[in-house]
Amino acid sequence: MSTFAIDIPASLIARFQRRDIDAFEQIYRRFERPAYTLAKRLLDDADEAREVLHDALLRAWEQSASFRGESPFWGWLRQITVNEALMRLRRRRLDYVEDLPDDFAAAAAIDTVAIDRLALEQALATLAPATRAAVWLHLVEGYGHDEIGRMFDRTTSFSKSQVSRGIRRLRESLAPAMPETGNAHPAAAL
């Protein structure tokens, strides 16, 4: 479940849409950490993530009337945040996608208990920006490959290949951190 999945009372949304600054602050407080974290995972840059948080929430405030309640409020806000972050990614261009050889060695599955946070964050940071974003959007936020492909102005295959390659890269990066206890699975069938 996405960390964005926070239910917001309809009355609060209504006040937000009437441009009540108190309601806006309440919404900010609820979504500050999920939105910032999502942006930071996609961009791997604290300053840019903070800017995305600011810009996304301001856009939501200014365009609050466009939220019609057909989907959860958090999904609407998450999409605005993702769009802001991906727009910045596209501006970067350099090393935009992961370009790994297809005979990339299959790495072992990871032991999620043994892998510490730092190792995982470092492994994420080794991914090319678009690859990291596709992996995060698919594995954590639950976006489908077709949605991710559209968000990148690319195809569904693009998303599939980036996610696949990103996962392999992560497994390879994390493999040395695995304890030699035999807990880990043997080589994953990737």
């Binding site: 948080l53 301001l58 599939k160």
Partner: protein, 197 residues
């Protein structure tokens, strides 16, 4: 070149590990700047504002002049600066002063907020109130970026004065305004003819 498809359950462990990463908070918070931007945005939205009373414009100009006057560095032998320096002799005293001003700002802001939608019916007063809100937003903007504690004191003081003016405008307190008793904004006794902006 072909990447084989990934079995759907092959990355559950990895997904679980990624989801388990803790949430992070921006440092510093993005809210102060966002609140300023939101207020600016809010101020742009209200309906047609083609006409603005001249006295409101004059009040705004006077307020800014006062603020700028306070913020312009003065020479060392400036008596005002000397007096200010004696009052704020220590950083602790300065911090207490700012804290007091912040508290007074917050109290007045809460009172304004609690008054809900009691905006003046008179269009001129409504426009003037809107303009004062713009000025408060400008002060907030300055407070968000200017970390000099001495400037902070002046800015909070100006902001307090503007909030007092706003309170008077919203409550229809034109008597207060006409007398110019709140000090920060000099308001002419009678509204002048409307001017196009």
């Amino acid at each position: 070149m072909h990447t084989p498809p990934l079995p759907s359950d092959d990355y559950r462990d990895l997904a679980a590990a990624l989801r388990a990463l803790p949430l992070e908070s921006p440092d510093p918070s993005a809210w102060p700047a966002l609140a300023v931007a939101a207020r600016r945005s809010q101020a742009r939205v209200p309906g047609p504002r083609r006409w603005r009373p001249a006295w409101a414009a004059a009040a705004a100009t006077a307020a800014l002049a006062v603020a700028i006057g306070w913020l312009v560095p003065r020479s060392a032998d400036d008596p005002i600066e000397a007096a200010t320096a004696s009052i704020t002799a220590t950083q602790d005293a300065e911090a207490r002063l700012v804290a007091d001003l912040v508290a007074r700002n917050q109290a007045l802001e809460r009172a304004l907020r609690d008054s809900g939608d009691s905006f003046p019916v008179d269009a001129d007063f409504a426009m003037a109130a809107s303009h004062v809100e713009d000025l408060i937003a400008a002060i907030d903007d300055q407070l968000a970026t200017d970390l000099d504690p001495r400037n902070a004191e002046v800015l909070w003081r100006v902001r307090l004065g503007l909030l007092q003016e706003l309170s008077a405008l919203r409550s229809g307190g034109n008597e207060t305004l006409m007398a110019g008793t709140t000090g920060v904004i000099a308001v002419p006794a009678e509204p002048a003819d409307d001017i196009a902006l």
